[in-house]
Symmetry: C2
């Protein structure tokens, strides 16, 4: 279904009016957008069921060395459009996505400069998207942004789930506070990171999740960040007005644009039901359809990795401790003494392959396989990796053949050390090397400060790099899972080979001192709004000192919570991150990780409250299998769900992996129980979840022989 | 002949002495280097025939966030070496180069930090080279330069030929002044350029040429600029001490180094005869031998170009005037209206091919052949060119076939618009495209400010780019002639596919308002010290308004001077830059350009005085042909030379192209005479050269039939 209606448009030719206004409702009529041109300044408002979401907020852009596009405007033309279609993503939380909006296209003219600007609003049932468009014109060709000055005026001192605005990291724990408290909490919110550049005591990142005192959930983010600087939000905490704060380049400029062109979409997702925030597809809908014609090579997958042992410090990425600095042009590793702790040895990798094969995993990631890790970050080193030369103890051919014989696909790892030019120089060879050796997917990393010095992780220039790497990977039919890259903005619709990102505080921080127990109840409302996250769940051993006596970190999660993450943290790429020996200890719980799907026909958001809990049910794509995940915040809680997402008049077997009564993320994380029941779509479950806990359920159609002795839920 | 002697070395183990000194003489004994460690600070001096060249000058480096390598040193070890060899360059002013020096290697230890630094001095008969070396050590691995603090203390207020220190251009006219006058003249020395970033009122560029009141000629430059920032010189004009001033990156850092590693060589060429400065091979000798094993594909060549007509504004690089901005991703040139002035049309290119073929030129350069020139510079545009897509009126296949049928090799043009990342992204495809289409040589350009923004033309990061482009070109067997790149430092020895650079004010400025008439008497003492220059001589029509009525530029040179440049401005790549129709008007004078060689067995520097005149004779490589060039400064002059460079007891025919008596660069530049004489190695010539004038001579062995009627000189 694809429908486009252009309504008769109004046409104004430089008719100066003091105030000109226009409104538009969402398809279901619950949201209303107001646009006003007041004394030449464009503003907008948004209400939901009559409640204010965005108070009058200014729109516009400040240019460098040119008159600004902030005021002095007149209405030139207005167009209304409707749009309604259903499209099928290559992978996703559902196999069919509806894209339904009312559109208003406001053509502004700035008579004093004879320049034109279009502001395009798309109003969906679940929120608003809008962007600036710069049509081709004689008086605006190339221009430099000093700042985008888009306001989001809040109607009160909302509760917010925020991380500090930063040009070089997104890897912070979330702070939950009133908007007015951000300033006072900023210092403690900025925890240490290998690269970090904060910019304002009231600057925060998107996606920003908020809750109002009158029960609205509001999410601010952006969609289709292409050839533009990443948007942060800076709060005027007297007036509770957020304003866009773009990421600058080395000289402080915020973007280089040309007409015709446009900004990314700025999004406001809103509902009085937190579950609707999770169900929103605005971010994808505002991106372009897939540019990959044949996407048959893009396959969701579950994988293991020679990784957690390095993250915890049990083993090392690097091969030798002999050198204070190495130069790949001249080093001869055959002369180096192995440090005896190198993780990516042929024998160790084969051990993982054996385990992954035995338990039906699709892939195995190996980090630290390639030369150069001895001084890999913190040195502003240009030529840090070549991406094609294995360490002497990593027999690439033997491993390739062994993995193939076992039916496990090897996953490539490209740590760039944020030396972006070096990576681009090697990209074609590195991708070709992957294809030559049977690797079809890739984890890339951008640890440390960006080279060239002065750039940062989220400026336009580096955003363009991430995009370049994704598009070039598509040429090679390679799937990309980029870590430390800019947080996603739905670009995975257009380039579905971007199967995941990290771009937030992932599981690794549980081995770097730990994350807050309720972290995973917030991420789906923030980071995941833009796209899937390679969160790397599945940690069964919470006491990291058991892996590495020098590491006193504790994984702030119960084992059942870890299982639930495979459902609640949507990703077409899911890792079982812990060591084989830990899974072998809890092989019954491990069964859930083995069973759970990674691609879905449909999702149901059963319970949700950011920072507190969320419960999601999903149907596996093309299969009669359902999976439920519940993750819980800092306090224990009773989760109440019904199974009405199942088909009626059928009987199913549900295997429920729950926290035991005495479970607790800190004191007793491995206390879990597994029970099996018969369920139907009338069944209900009232289930305890521990602090930092949760539960996971796998549901299959009941065949008679298997149901013997099972009781009904 | 290759000889290496290591003399017995002295060994000091942390013996604290207040002053420790050491001297070393050049092989011929005329230069003496003094090194002194005075209270822990390393200093050096240099004398020539007992006259001071460098007064006591400090050595050392200031590091960022680390203790400096400036003082607190003790002598750890001293080594003396001698070296003498003769090597054969792939191309050059002579076919055999002697590399003969005495070496002193001073190992310093800084006990307070347990760090080591080596200062290596090489003393040649014609000057000094020295560099810093950072041996592998546990307390110095990766480090950042805040500044290199190498001093060059002058013994007086010398006369200098200088251009303003600048991070983004070298394209200035030279100013001739006392050192003490630099500050006062700086403002007028900084003329406009598309990209320019000056840094100090007493900052100047190298190679810097000076003359002392007691008759010494001193040249300061660097050799082997590899993975390091370009060195400028900043003058303390109270004490007449130059200090190194490295080119910073976007955040002001001056270089990222690791041990083991080294700085480039700092060079001091000195003589009491200006001709010896021109004859010096120090810069090449301090570079590594060629890394290109089979260099048979590197061929000196003479070429023409569809270029001068764009430079003068007679035609355009771009195809259409329709667009204020274009985007190569979406533009469709088939919809564009041609502006009617596009230079690189198939018909026009074929006209040049015809002319080049008729007159025996090796190659033809065509600029503006590829899409993207409509908004190519000044806009900080990232994706500005793709380097492979011709304009619709440039039929690449037809031109390729036509050129081949005529025996003319097409020369590729890659203007990068200084968008360095974009160029690197396209480099492999662009080079492969060249090979696929029969192009073996390339002119590249870096017009405008560097992208990424904040970097500049001469920082370490961008120096590394130029080097990358050269080395990758070698992989494809492509010769590179890079314009606006960093001025050369003898790297053409190591990578002889770097056949030329611009990297100074070239002939194009004669169409941008003109250059000083004596400019070409200075360049061989400055810019050419580092390597060949694609100066693009051969302009016969000095009144640019005849090409383009809107351009009132005047070429400040006589026609005879233009001929002489093919001898005096050494390059294995020489252009005949003017239009075919101008050569047809002066076809007798054009004969010299047709005849002159581009590669040499031997060169004789007959007369030389920077800013005033120079006369050079050269023997064509492998041929019994000699060519002489004289270029003259602002005043008319009588040049007196003997032909003793010819073989004895033989008779030769000399064709002499001279300024006519009434010639003058401004009033009467096209007044020339051509005469033929019989000469022998006893012949003498006393020849008038006009202001901005000169003469050129071609000499061939006399065969009886051809000498009939010729009189002896």
């Amino acid at each position: 279904m694809r429908l486009r209606l252009t309504l008769p448009f109004l046409f104004f030719l430089f008719i100066p009016v003091l105030v000109w206004s226009q409104t538009m409702k969402s398809p279901n009529g619950l949201l209303e957008l107001g646009f006003e041109l007041n004394q030449g300044v464009p503003t907008y408002t948004l209400t939901y069921k009559g409640k204010p979401v965005i108070l009058p907020s200014k729109l516009g852009l400040e240019l460098k060395n040119k008159p600004s596009l902030l005021d002095g405007f007149e209405i030139f033309e207005l167009k209304h459009n409707n749009f309604d279609e259903i499209w099928a993503p290559v992978w996703g939380e559902e196999s069919q996505i509806r894209n339904h909006y009312h559109e208003m296209e406001i053509h502004l003219e700035q008579p004093s400069t004879s320049r034109n600007l279009i502001i395009r609003f798309r109003l969906f049932d679940d929120g608003l998207g809008f962007r600036y468009e710069f049509p081709a014109q004689s008086n605006l060709a190339h221009f430099v942004l000093k700042e985008e000055r888009t306001q989001f005026a809040m109607a009160g001192d909302h509760l917010a789930f925020w991380i500090a605005g930063d040009y070089d990291t997104q890897e912070y724990d979330y702070t939950e506070s009133r908007l007015s408290e951000i300033r006072g909490l900023m210092e403690s919110a900025i925890t240490g990171n290998i690269s970090q550049t904060s910019f304002s005591p009231t600057g925060v990142q998107t996606a920003l999740m908020m809750k109002t005192d009158d029960g609205l959930y509001i999410n601010l983010h952006e969609a289709a960040l292409i050839n533009y600087s990443t948007m942060h939000l800076n709060l005027d905490d007297k007036n509770m007005i957020f304003e866009s704060w773009l990421t600058p380049d080395a000289i402080g400029d915020k973007g280089y644009l040309q007409a015709p062109g446009q900004s990314p979409w700025r999004t406001v997702i809103v509902s009085d039901d937190a579950r609707e925030i999770l169900a929103s597809r605005i971010t994808y809908n505002l991106n372009e359809p897939s540019k990959i014609k044949d996407s048959s090579w893009i396959k969701p997958m579950k994988y293991m990795g020679v990784w957690w042992e390095m993250i915890t410090g049990k083993s090392t990425w690097h091969y030798t401790d002999d050198y204070a600095a190495i130069d790949l042009n001249s080093i001869d590793y055959s002369n180096a003494r192995p440090n005896g702790k190198h993780g990516a040895t042929t024998a160790n990798v084969k051990r993982y392959i054996d385990f992954a094969a035995e338990h039906g995993f699709d892939g195995l990631l190996v980090e630290g396989w390639n030369v150069g890790w001895e001084d890999w970050f913190g040195n502003f080193k240009d030529y840090v990796f070549d991406f094609v030369t294995p360490y002497p103890d990593f027999d690439l051919v033997e491993i390739r053949q062994y993995a193939k014989s076992k039916g496990v696909e090897m996953i490539m790892h490209h740590e760039t050390s944020a030396s972006v030019r070096n990576y681009e120089r090697h990209l074609d060879l590195a991708y070709q090397f992957m294809k030559d050796n049977g690797y079809n997917s890739l984890k890339s990393g951008y640890v440390g400060y960006i080279l060239p010095i002065g750039e940062n992780h989220y400026s336009q220039w580096i955003v363009n790099h991430y995009q370049y790497a994704i598009e070039k990977a598509a040429d090679y039919q390679i799937m990309v899972n980029a870590h430390e890259a800019v947080r996603p903005t739905g670009v995975g619709r257009t380039w579905p080979n971007l199967i995941a990102n990290e771009s937030a505080r992932g599981t690794e921080y549980q081995a770097f001192g730990g994350s807050k127990p309720n972290h995973v109840t917030i991420l789906p409302f923030t980071r995941l709004i833009g796209g899937p996250m390679d969160y790397t769940p599945g940690i069964f051993e919470m006491d990291i000192s058991k892996l590495n006596p020098e590491n006193n970190s504790w994984v702030n999660s119960t084992l059942a919570n870890q299982l639930a993450l495979y459902v609640t943290m949507y990703s077409p790429l899911q890792m079982a991150a812990d060591l084989p020996e830990h899974y072998e200890k809890f092989i019954d719980a491990f069964q859930f990780i083995k069973d759970v799907a990674v691609d879905w026909d449909k999702s149901w958001y059963l319970e949700a409250e950011p920072g507190k809990y969320l419960t999601i049910a999903r149907k596996a794509k093309g299969k009669k299998e359902w999976y439920v995940g519940n993750v819980n915040g800092n306090e224990s809680r009773l989760s109440n769900i019904t199974f009405d997402f199942l088909e009626p008049n059928k009987s199913y077997i549900a295997t429920i992996y729950t926290d035991a009564k005495e479970a607790h993320y800190r004191n007793n994380p491995q206390a879990y129980t597994i029970k099996r029941f018969l369920v139907s779509n009338k069944s209900k479950l009232s289930q305890f979840s521990a602090p930092g806990g949760g539960y996971a359920i796998s549901i299959t159609e009941a065949d008679k022989s298997a149901t013997k002795g099972l009781r009904k839920l």
